[in-house]
Amino acid sequence: MTDTKITLCGIELENPVIPASGTFGYGYEMAEYYDINCLGTFSFKGTTKEERFGNDTPRIAECPSGLLNSVGLQNPGVKVVIREELPKLALVFDKKVMANVSGFSVDEYVYVCERLDKERQVGWLEVNISCPNVHGGGMSFGTDPNQAASVVKAVKQVTTKPVIIKLTPNVTDITSIALACEEAGADGISLINTMLGMRIDLKTGKPILANTTGGLSGPAIFPVALRMVYDVAKAVSIPVIGMGGVSSAEDVIEMMMAGATAVQVGAANLVNPFICQDIVNNLPDVMAKLSIESLENIIGISQEEF
């Protein structure tokens, strides 16, 4: 008998599989395709104070083993999310959802978190201080330990829900940012957001993305993400959610061995809309093959000295 249960910031999940923000809408759209209650939970589309269209198109470019996106936080704004999207989700999802929050100022993060805090369906606030596709906000909070800490402190004052800070890999030392967030009161860390990259159209000599650069995700970044999860999990004592190119049950287990308590799946959803369901279904078999009885017991085993 294998046990896939884990506990994330005090909330028990049936399994550690979490579709990542920006690849799963507000959940109900994906519930057209399968029963999303099989998931541990999912992180909904990054939500800001006001409605945002995002960047111009093209917003997508392909590359070997992954893709670049420069969507730029398209979302209907927190009021519409609460009034329209969450009620639709409630019809198809019985579990607590992870609310992904973005902003361009500390005040905006506070505004959005304060409102989502009142929503019973919201289990965790995942605060994104790492979006590489918007200017004058997003990632700039995630590249400086002091600014990161200021967001955490401000948000913690307006919510009693666990606050998970989502970090960017586009820094010299991600552990120093993670430590600053922990010290400021964060309840968890999720990493990694996408890595900045670009592609050029050989026929025109111009960047493919209208935004010039975009965030790289997919299997191409898995080893980088794994290394960063390993480093951060070693440095902090709060739970870490690992993500970056995860595409299989084996990848989930590898992330957990590196130190992740739960694991998000992003780009893989875009190629196979059923991938998270497949991973959940495959986990027990893969665990059995590896003689793993409980996923909770493998969290961070790679950190131990052999």
Binding site: G22, F24, F53, T57, E62, V71, N269
Partner: protein
């Protein structure tokens, strides 16, 4: 949307860069002309979105143009090969608005989805004209197929090698009668052509747009556009937009 395995029944070259593939599988999710499928190719991360040209029973027909390495590789696929395909994507054309004499206006690789639209409109007893635009005579494909199902076909070539010299909008003028010659239009093609059609047409109609897509089923917001009726995803609320909602 459905994820299913299709088996290649035919992979045939139509012109130097255009190929037709017939695939056998579960086509039940393909409801409307103008919808597309998204094909997984080994060695490429993202799927290839390709519009549905025809569907008859369990046979799906697509027409693809060699645009990059992925589509180039597709030309080497043999009969019997299995492909992982997401079907039933996008909204497709609403054919109920056609009136008695709709015109279908297609340019280059935008022509295929109009074939199924033509078949269905003719089956409903409409008098259908097809204005098909190509760069040159060597690039012409499917002219006969449109005629065989009962369409009146007007060809335009940019170099004048056959048919009306110029663009589809030049050919469109030739069918104009006292009442402009058509009751409604359906179009698909490169964006500059769509814009020209939008400006040249005198009736309402529907335009099918193209955009670089991430997922093809509405999850990633990669292909969003602004319309009069709000933000839309080309892959989900599109690719077909009504003329009245288009913002250029």
């Amino acid at each position: 949307m459905k994820q299913t395995i299709f088996t290649i029944q035919e992979n045939k070259q139509l012109t130097e860069t255009t190929w037709r593939m017939k695939l056998k599988g579960d086509t039940s999710e393909i409801i409307s002309a103008g919808q597309f499928v998204n094909i997984k190719l080994d060695g490429y991360f993202l799927r290839r979105p390709i519009s549905v040209c025809d569907v008859e029973g369990d046979i799906l027909t697509i027409i693809y143009k060699i645009l990059g390495r992925g589509t180039e590789e597709m030309t080497h696929f043999h009969i019997g090969k299995e492909l992982d395909i997401l079907t039933g994507l996008g909204n497709g054309y609403d054919l109920s608005l056609s009136g008695d004499r709709p015109v279908l206006i297609g340019g280059g690789v935008g022509i295929p989805p109009l074939y199924l639209a033509a078949k269905r409109l003719i089956a409903e007893g409409r008098n259908v004209k097809a204005v098909l635009g190509y760069n040159t005579v060597d690039e012409i494909y499917y002219e006969e197929e449109f005629r065989e199902i009962g369409c009146e076909v007007i060809i335009a070539t940019a170099d004048g090698s056959v048919g009306v010299k110029g663009f589809v909008t030049d050919a469109l003028q030739t069918i104009a009668g006292e009442d402009c010659g058509y009751t409604y239009f359906y179009t698909c093609g490169p964006e500059p052509m769509l814009k020209a059609v939008y400006n040249a047409t005198k009736t309402s109609g529907q335009l099918s747009f193209e955009e670089r897509m991430g997922c093809g089923f509405g999850a990633c917001m990669g292909c969003s556009c602004k319309t009069v009726t709000g933000y839309k995803r080309i892959c989900k609320e599109g690719p077909v937009l009504r003329k009245e909602e288009v913002i250029w």
